[in-house]
Amino acid sequence: MLVQLPGGWNPLLGRLALDQIPYDNPILAPLFVAVVVGTILLFGLITYYRKWGYLWKEWLTTVDHKKLGVMYIIIGLVMLFRGFIDGLMIRTQQVWANGPHSSGVFGALHGYLTPFHFGQVYSAHGLIMILLAATPLLVGFMNIIVPIQIGARDMAYPYLNALGLWITAAAAVLIMISLFVGDFAHNGWFGYAPIFELQYSPGVGVDYWIWTLQLTALGTTLGGINLLVTIIKMRAPGMTWFRLPIFVWTSLSANIIALTSFPALQVALGLVAADRYLGSHFFTAGFGGNLMLYTNLFWIWGHPEVYFVILPAFGMMSEIFPTFSEKPLFGYVTMVAASFAIAGVSWMVWLHHFFTMGAGPQVNSFFSVATMLVGIPTGVKVFNWAFTMYRGRITYSAAMLWAIGALFMLLVGGMTGMMLAIPAINYMVHNSVFVIAHFHSMLLVIVYAIFGSVIFWFPKVFGFRLDEYWAKVMFWLFTAGSALVFVPMYMLGFMGMTRRLDYVFNPAWHPYLEVMEVGIAVYCLSVLAFVVLLYVSIRDRVKNRAGADAWGTARSLEWLAHSPVPFYNFAVTPHVNARDELAWRREHGMDALEPERYVDIHMPSNTGMALYIGALTFVLGFGLTWRIWWLSLLSLAAIILLMIIRSFRGDDGYIITGAELERMEKEALRNRAQADGKYVSGGRGQVAGTAIAYGRNGASMGGDPFNSSRDGI
């Protein structure tokens, strides 16, 4: 039943052999040494400071949605960096390997990457950026913020939440391992039939690609179910549907998309795996296979996935704009409707990724019109944000700058997207870098929204604000880098430069490629600024300590909880009375009122099971990639066995008594009293005058011990 493999295979190690380790590669070998040294150093430091116990108890076995979210975000940021390095390599190769007289090193005729290696770099770049950077970052934020925003104590399934995280981590490890053991796919991040068939890609690269994608799909599906049920079932009393913060709404619509579309990806890749492992003929060039069927199945997932990542970003922007405009969000109901309209239409547009297949005028027109329809709800959102800012008291804090940047990127990406929705134009620019520039503009919306959210919600999770000055430095560097990289890219697209060129034949394009390379250098500076930002903020954490409402003008329920949020979120479940509950309580002078009494609460226990199963999914992916059948079967059996064992053990959780809770709350309140009212916006150390003046009815807050200090600002 199994296919005949080209090359060696043995029962013990599968296809794994010493010659699969690229120790002679001048780029990978030093990197490998650096990674090994770094890992030893990290483990040494953890051992030296005796932090293993802390790490195990507080992070590795945790089921706390906030810590899991933080780990999702860490994975996302690390992979964002890896993906950025891939992007840097692509840009450097193209500016180097330009024109017939360009030099070549490391075995490449032009530039420094051989075509095969270049193919791996751009494939990994795309896959990592979409599924292992954007997705974990957004899932991380949904994880942290949604339960607090709806007043829940945790997610509906805390254990499943941990499982989703560790499966995502397994996928990240699997793709990182592919750097040093074997190679990665060279077929682009979305793959083409029949190049990924065994006949044309006999190596393990495509198998790494398949199992990495399968693991992320599994992890995201589990996370999606969890968030949907959390939002449907776990809302605090009084949190009716039309009082939900917009971020919850967009998370809901995004996760509906995730739940419905990821299975299509799993099938598409499962069938590729069947072709490669069992010798079936779904996408082969002969035996009646259909090449375009793969492209179709992939984009059935692929396009909804785009909205899965953009909708939470829209939600983040919808939280940041009102806070720093000191106004409620304009057009709440239309915002909700627009989110669901986008989610619904996302299921009818996928063919616009392959208009050039030639399905004919009727089909192309249908998908073209459907694609343009997306512009309507998105336009509604853009106007809503603009009207939110209109006549608001805008504070140009760092988070707000990132949100405004996201808005500009959305305009650029959206307009070019409308152009691409027209089949006639699409035929002209298909597979050109114009398309690349378009979807990078769209993905930059997400990156901007994410960095805005990192700054916006950082105090909620860690209890202190990030340094405004360095956050703004990073913003301007990042924006300059984006402009320098992607404006020339749009121009090159119109000039006819196609995507994924390992050798750029036209020397006339050199100036544009050079500008893009400068842009990449500026991006590098913004990465540095981010590191400095973290360093400075952690150094000044006492000075930057934040109160419950870190910005003084926040509106939704999560800002009612302490900063940092205790592991139980709210000691007593809040009763929600209004949309923008915190703003409502503040207007009526009730935002600092605390519950009179505390009762026992029930919390889920920590468990190592999710970590074990996550690790086993990595082993399974690795075993399947290298066709080590005994290892794959063993790890699959172990996963099933662990699930059964867990189902017999169950999770009774534990009780925190009311008295304990009261003690912890008292302490949190003491910290809060020291921190409240310290926020000043408008750059480093400057007082922003009346821009931050708190609330319009300051009189009602006169008697409020926690807010009185703010009146002086």
Binding site: I232, A264, W347, L351, M357, G358, A359, G360, Q362, V363
Partner: protein, 118 residues
């Protein structure tokens, strides 16, 4: 709100099971499948008509099973299951329908000689 400490067997989702419902679901679907099998095995109708007839059989059997076995109805404890199913069905239809449509059009435009389905 909470059923956490009460008797799980009294939960409405347990209590909605009924012998009569399961028997009806079983009988309806077995009889319909029997009819569909008989008609197919004996080629009782011309192909297109037969396809229509067995599609109707499948549709009724599915609806019966969804109602009697999955208890998809508008009862309060079930409403979210019903809502999510109703949201999903159009997506099933879109996935299969649009795929089928685009490929039949593709074949029509690229290899007209091979459009004879099956």
């Amino acid at each position: 709100m909470s059923h956490g400490h009460s008797d799980p067997v009294q939960h409405p989702e347990v209590q909605m099971s009924s012998v009569r419902g399961y028997l009806s679901g079983f009988l309806i679907s077995v009889l319909l499948m029997l009819a569909a099998t008989y008609m197919s095995a004996t080629h009782a109708f011309p192909p297109f008509g037969l396809l229509m007839v067995i599609t109707v059989c499948a549709a009724i059997a599915t609806i019966a099973q969804t109602y009697f076995l999955l208890h998809i109805d508008t009862a309060e404890h079930n409403i979210w299951n019903t809502v999510s199913l109703v949201l999903f069905i159009p997506l099933f239809v879109l996935t299969i329908g649009l795929t089928w449509w685009m490929f039949s059009q593709l074949y029509l435009h690229t290899m007209p000689a091979m459009t004879g389905m099956h």
